[in-house]
Symmetry: C2
Subunit: 168 residues, 2 copies
């Protein structure tokens, strides 16, 4: 996470748009597919009450950002119902409106939300760069493998780079 | 490929809809993002003439299916401009119209088009199963890693199974 904080600070200094994404659902669950709802433990499903509010529901403390990475005025915040940040969200509109066609990625989890979003972005024609120290996974081997898959075949999904190389 | 042939034969016997996907672009390249067009070797890009017709262009022999896996009447054929089979294609409409909510995947390449399409499908609420022998990659380790990522965290993207277990 320190690297993600540093990446965002660098982006702000550089004058880039900062976009935050969070996976969550509307309180009425109308954007949560049955398949997803039923995949959880029967005792603790999306929308159920948890220690930090209703689980994976937009607006609840548990679905919000950690304070160190909280959005600031001028940032874009995308609530997304899936792993990908593009499907069923206003992200593509937000980027097209600003004529943005190059994206720098960080965040968790590398092989799930980050990878899915990069693949969506790549299909939509964005040039994508993932910052290696600024992304993480529960499974370190999945992170390493995902970075390799992204770069394979001449950048079939995009590129990866170290935070140091960005700032340099 | 023999396993993919067997999988499709099993699906036909079982009365399931068979959907074929092919990555290709319109002859005028209007659905090919610049980022994708420019990523190829300058000497051989999408739309350039090749030994099997214009490269990655819909309708050209090189972008068609191998004879063993050719579509039959009643199948659905999806031409897709990206790695994912859902983005900018009529696939979701084709499935919703038929009330299909469970998908069985095979094909190439495991960690690129197959994985991207499964992730898109999962976000859209489809239950997804990938048949292990019926998918392949240039990189066997990427295939194995992708199968593991799909099944992780209780089927976060879906499930994988052997062809034998399907037919059993």
């Amino acid at each position: 996470m320190p690297a993600a904080v540093e990446l965002i600070a660098w982006a702000r200094r550089t004058g880039l748009l900062v976009v935050h994404t969070k996976e969550c659902h509307r309180p009425d669950l109308s954007d949560c597919p049955n398949a997803k709802l039923l995949r959880g433990k029967p005792s603790l499903r999306i929308g159920d009450p948890g220690p930090m509010g209703r689980i994976l529901i937009d607006g609840e403390p548990g679905a919000d950002f950690v304070p160190e990475l909280a959005p600031q005025i001028g940032d874009v915040v995308i609530a997304k119902p899936g792993k990908g940040a593009f499907y069923n969200t206003p992200l593509e509109d937000a980027l097209r409106t600003r004529n943005i066609d190059r994206l720098i990625f960080g965040g968790v989890t590398t092989e799930v939300c980050v990878q899915t979003s990069m693949r969506e972005a790549n299909d939509r024609g964005y040039e994508c760069l993932l910052i290696e120290e600024a992304t993480g996974s529960y499974y370190p081997e999945f992170k390493a493998q995902t970075l390799a898959m992204i770069r394979a075949q001449g950048g079939i999904v995009g590129w990866t780079a170290s935070l140091a190389s960005l700032a340099g």
